[in-house]
Every structure is written in structure tokens, then in C-alpha cells.
Amino acid sequence: MLELKNVVKSYKMKGVRKRILNDVSFQFPEGRNVAIMGKNGAGKSTLMRLLAGIEQPDRGRVLRDTRTSWPMGFSGGFNGSMTGLENVRFVARLYGQDTEAVIDYVKNFTDLGDSLRLPIKTYSSGMKARLAFGLSMAIDFNCYLIDEITAVGDKSFRLRSKEVFQDKLSHASVVMISHSISTIREYCDCGVFLKDGDLYYFSDIEDLICVYQDEMGA
């Protein structure tokens, strides 16, 4: 379940107030993979952060399942002075998963080896991204939030990531932001268009892509 109820969100920058969402109510369709599209600066990432609960709406409410992921590719939740393993253990406990099973999975998947015993602050950004991705795959989310799939790791890691993720999508859904129309076509079957503080829903992904291309061309 993912739902916006009368959500208002705006930003004030240098005295200019920018409305991202203007009293929007929208229930994300259950079990479908939803694309979020819009021009640059329309507020797609802000919408994602609202859905994830990292930001609070100015008014209204965001309802979400306890098994909605954090925005993937986002590794801001790691504590730098704790080791990779400690961070993994923390998140596994938080989501009530079998800690050892999650650790095994992450070890196998990320190939980080002994680095897992080192504090996160010693990691390169690539290592952090691999850990974050591996961890989100180890936990049974039923909805994944993805803000632009960014490729991490070498070719074999990317292939493996894609395989695992496709497998996850057989029993979980996804809400995704992407500028790449081919990625959107690959993963999503419906979507919303964000424009001037309003959300427009398209139950057929091709309709959304048409509107998006019109907007970009105009």
C-alpha cells in the first residue's frame, strides 16, 4: 500500500516558493510497476523522498506499508564509524529478518570480502553503492523505490544485479524514476506524470511515454 492523501509540498528557495505537490491524493495501484516521469525540476525526487518517508509533507499524509524500501541507490543511512557488517546487522534486525541469512547473502552478493569488517567511512563510493544494493536485495520488500537505476560495479556485477532484481520483481512491485524511456518500458506497466504540482495517472505506460515525449519536445 502506497498512498498520498491531500499532500502539499513546497520549497522556498531565495524567496521563491516552488510548489511540488499541490493538494494531491493518489493511491498507487496495487501490484503494478509505476513509473514517475516529469521534466527536470518537476519534483520527481522529492516525490520519491516523500514516498520513502525521508521528507515530511507540508500538509496531508503519506501512507505506506512497512515493507516499502528506502530509495535504492541511496546509501545515506549507513553509519560511517560502524563496520559494513554492523550496518547490515542493524538493518536486518530493524526489518525483522534473519540476521545471519542476510549477512550471508550480502557477503556472497557484494564480493566485499574482508572489507565488510572495516568502517563504512573507509569505503569508496562504488563499494558503498554495492553494499546498499546488496542489502536492499537481501531484505524482503514488497515495493522497491528506485530513483534512476545507476549502474554500479563491473560488468559481471551489473549482470548479476539485473538478474537478481528481475527475480525480485516476480513477487514485488516497483516505483521508479528514470529519464531513459527504454528502462521505463522494461520495468513499468503504468505511470504518473508530475507537472505543475499535479499528478496525472496513465494506466498504459505507452500513453505516459507519449505525453512525456510531447512535453520534452515542446
Binding site: A52, G53, I54, E55, Q56, D58, R64, T66, T68, W70, F74, G76, G77, F78, N79, S81, M82, E86, F90, V91, R93, L94, Y95, G96
Partner: protein, 260 residues
């Protein structure tokens, strides 16, 4: 909301808080057991130092036979209270990164710190008083139930002050420094070195308003068989604690959006 989903939510909340307690333990004491040992040693050194100074100048215990026990009842109480109040004040700053995980609310971090610090001080106090007992410098508490009630009262008041501090500090950064200055004289006005009941009434009339005096007196009422404090009013710190906790949690909710 159905009954089962309500129970599930409570179970979820307990799991989140328990997870945070483990994380906080790791963050405050490090990975080695030495870290935890320090937490026990630090207050022991304060009591030891006072004991040493007062023995050197050949002073009698203000009450009872044991100088060490008398000071311990005052110092450990104040340290526990201060630790809660100070550590909770820093909660919102220290835990920003945790809000990435939507399961965690800031109040969970407050509860986690309350639990960790209280458990730590329970261990510190039991160890410390047992050592005094073993060294023949103290008797076991004459009224154990009162001592336990006193511990819970310190917990409640420290929690109340801590949340309110946390909310003020999140809105006004200077509060971190101001609070430290304001609580500095606590050790002098809370009856650590003297028996409040024996002060002239002009003094006790003012001291009475310091809630921590009542906590120190509460602990002593528990330890000594006939302490009979004339200052001690248990309702005052409890009432204050309740108000502060309600105001603190209420304003946390009210100002949550302003913080992030």
C-alpha cells in the same frame, strides 16, 4: 484498525526500539568491553575523590556512619539524572541519518537512549553499592522498594528534562551550552554534601523547588532506616516529570516538520 494489526504495530515498535538500543550501545561504548568498564569507573572516581578529600580534612559523614555511602546517594543520583538529560538532548542531531529508514521515528531513538542509559546506571549503581557493602562501608538498603521507586523517579524526571531539552536544542542551538551552565550548580543545591532537613527553613524553602533534591532524598530514604527527610515530597518530582514528558512528546510532534 483491527486488533491484530494493532498488536503487530506494537511488536514492530518494540523491535525497532530494541534494534536502536543495540546500535546505541555500540556507538556509546565502542566494540571493546573496556568501553563499558569506563562507564562504571567514571562515577566511582568522583565519589572516591570526594571521599578522599573529606577523609583528609577529617570530616564525619553528615548522616549515618559512612561518608562514602552518603556521597554516593547524592552523586550517583545526579550523574544518572544529568546523563539522561544531556544524552537525550543530543538525540535529534545524532540520529538524522536514521530517518532514512521510514520505520524509525525520532521518538524511538529517545526511548532507546532512555533504556540504554537506565540499564547502564542500574548496573553501575548495583555494582557500586555492592562494593561499598563488601568493603563494610554501607549496609544494604533498609527499604529496597523505596530505593527502586527512587530509581524509577530519577528515570522519569531525567527523561522529561531530556526530551524537553532535545526539542529546545533542535529549535535553538545555543540551548546546548546554556543547559550546561544552568545544571552546573546542581551538585551544590541538591544536598550532596549536607542533609537538607538540617538547613534553616529559609534555605529549604528555596531548595525545595529543585526537583533533584527530592530524588537524592528519596534514595536516602530508601537506604537509611530512619532518614525522615522534612524536605522530601515525592509528588513534586513525579508531577513535574509527567508534565515535562507530555509537553516534550507533544512539542516533538508539533515541531517535527520544522526540524527536517
Amino acid at each position: 484498525m483491527s486488533m491484530t494489526s494493532g498488536l503487530n504495530l506494537i511488536a514492530l515498535q518494540m523491535r525497532v526500539v530494541a534494534t536502536l538500543v543495540l546500535r546505541e550501545t555500540r556507538a556509546s561504548f565502542g566494540t571493546s568491553s573496556i568501553g563499558y568498564l569506563w562507564a562504571v569507573i567514571t562515577p566511582a572516581v568522583s565519589v572516591g575523590l570526594l571521599f578522599f578529600i573529606f577523609t583528609m580534612i577529617d570530616r564525619q559523614a553528615p548522616y549515618g556512619d559512612s561518608l562514602a555511602l552518603f556521597f554516593a546517594t547524592g552523586i550517583l543520583t545526579i550523574e544518572f539524572f544529568n546523563k539522561l538529560s544531556h544524552t537525550l538532548m543530543a538525540t535529534f542531531d545524532a540520529n538524522k541519518a536514521l530517518l532514512t529508514y521510514p520505520l524509525i521515528k525520532e521518538t524511538d531513538a529517545l526511548f532507546a537512549r532512555l533504556i540504554l542509559i537506565s540499564a547502564t546506571y542500574l548496573v553501575i549503581m548495583v555494582l557500586f553499592y555492592l562494593c561499598l557493602y563488601a568493603a563494610g562501608m554501607a549496609d544494604l538498603p533498609a527499604h529496597p522498594e523505596k530505593t527502586l521507586a527512587a530509581f524509577l523517579a530519577i528515570m522519569a524526571l531525567g527523561f522529561g528534562f531530556g526530551i524537553v531539552n532535545a526539542v529546545i536544542a533542535s529549535l535553538w542551538e545555543s540551548w546546548n551550552q546554556i543547559e550546561k551552565i544552568l545544571t552546573r550548580p546542581l551538585i551544590f543545591i541538591s544536598g550532596v554534601f549536607y542533609v537538607p532537613s538540617r538547613l534553616p527553613s529559609q534555605a529549604t524553602d528555596i531548595l525545595w523547588w529543585n526537583p533533584v533534591v527530592h530524588l537524592v532524598e528519596w534514595v536516602r530514604e530508601g537506604f537509611y532506616p530512619n532518614y525522615n527527610s522534612s524536605v522530601f515530597t515525592p509528588e513534586y518530582p513525579l508531577f513535574l516529570a509527567m508534565i515535562l514528558i507530555l509537553v516534550g512528546l507533544g512539542s516533538e510532534r508539533l515541531f517535527r516538520k520544522r526540524r527536517n
